[in-house]
Amino acid sequence: MKYLDEYRDAALVRGLGERIRATATRPWVLMEVCGGQTHTIVKQGLDELLDDCVEMIHGPGCPVCVTPLEQIDKALRLAQDPRVIFTSFGDMLRVPGSDCDLQQVRARGGQVRVVYSPLDALALATRNPDKQVVFFAVGFETTAPANAMAVWRAKELGVKNFSVLVSHVTVPPAMMAILDSPDNRVQGFLAAGHVCTVMGWTEYEPIAARYRVPIIVTGFEPVDIMEGILLAVTQLEQGRAEVENQYVRSVRREGTVPARSLVEQVFELVNRKWRGIGEIPGSGLALRPEFADFDAEFRFGLQDIMVDEPAECHAGDVLRGQLKPFQCPAFGSSCTPERPLGAPMVSSEGACAAYYNYGRLRREVGATTRAEWGSAESDSLTTDDSPLTTDDSPLTTDDSRLTTDDSLVTVPVPEVPR
């Protein structure tokens, strides 16, 4: 796929890894904000390429992970209402509420449908006039223009049976909350490329200046992430603290103006609770009074639901980068992907789920070099003992015996034979 495949080029990725290692004169700590970036880093094993020179702390950029417990419970309440068809992005289906999740509600007979786009939910409403269709409007600024348009269109077309349950959060206040934290270790950021596609990067300039941290607007493919890290490390080595754009093919300084404009017309900034973190002022979006009719919380009388989070789940500490998932007492015992306590274990790029899978390899394979996974000597996952970097590791097998036909391995995907 064009503008995707080129940014997965293995030679480029490894070349950039070399450059980063050559540029860093000391170890640096960076945070990638966006869950999509975490996903790429873990899936492609990019932190293995960074050895000891860069530690990546996974940021709270997973709207699934940070949706407050009470919003999930409101969603569950709506999904169980026989008048309602509850629609949502797939991500939310297995996030645990206080006692169950949307998938379980569906199993018990609730009408829960996964949609790809908020406009699909609106279309569902027009096709089912005798039902109430509620859409779970979750996301960061990237998704706000889509959700805003769905509400705008509903009003424009006079659709009476459509409403949204809003749980929108914004990135800059979260970054500042992390930077304000007394035990913050983050020295530079990879900003979320699609959030910035919509919003531009002007909001990050004062943050970079005030906290003296480089902020690199970064894309999502392996080449993007590595280039973003290289730019951040270069700035840190040079003592600079600026906003720089790596994701030039998609992001401009002013963002996508028509999108920002509609978001501003439909939503307003409010204080929002982040699951596991608590309330961050001015970090959320809510529907403006002119659109209150489309707010599911008002339509169904759910505004007053408040829920406390279970003490055992340390999602907040993980999301703030204070705790590595394996340091959480529940990790791998009472909290696993099959029975998650909190969202970072559910979401495909939640830090806990990532570490659970990825970490198993380290535990089993690194056994000869480290007594215990996550040993106290090093916070970083990538150590010199990593089997991938030693030549005598049993795992770097001789692959040359495996294939007989070179062409099949080096040629990109052929046509489906039919």
Binding site: K2, L119, R249
Partner: protein, 108 residues
């Protein structure tokens, strides 16, 4: 956040005042809302699509330029990488006893 993938606009139309279009993603086509890029993107242009909405037009000239810079910058490292690949036996082509051959066959 998240899943925004690049695709090429192959068709544009108006749905009761809302600019919509068909975007092709490497052989898969989907209807997407083009309202946010209506002024700058046309049939044939690439856009980034998130949850059925085009959120930006891909700046192809910028993309080409920066990609070339990137390639050049890591060019010098390619030989090192090829050697590393051969040493670790990661090449699936030649026999590891002949790293030079493996390095030649790995290509770029």
């Amino acid at each position: 956040m998240c899943l925004g993938i690049p695709g090429r606009i192959v068709d544009r139309r108006d749905d009761r005042g809302l600019p919509m279009g068909v975007v092709d993603f490497g052989g898969v086509r989907r209807e997407c809302c083009l309202a946010y890029v209506a002024d700058e993107a046309n049939v044939g242009d690439y856009v980034i699509v998130h949850v059925g909405f085009a959120i930006s037009r891909v700046d192809e000239a910028e993309a080409r330029r920066t990609y070339e810079v990137l390639r050049e910058m890591s060019q010098l490292d390619e030989l090192d990488w090829m050697r590393e690949v051969a040493d670790q036996g990661m090449s699936m082509l030649g026999s590891p006893a002949d790293p030079a051959a493996a390095a030649r066959e790995t290509g770029g």
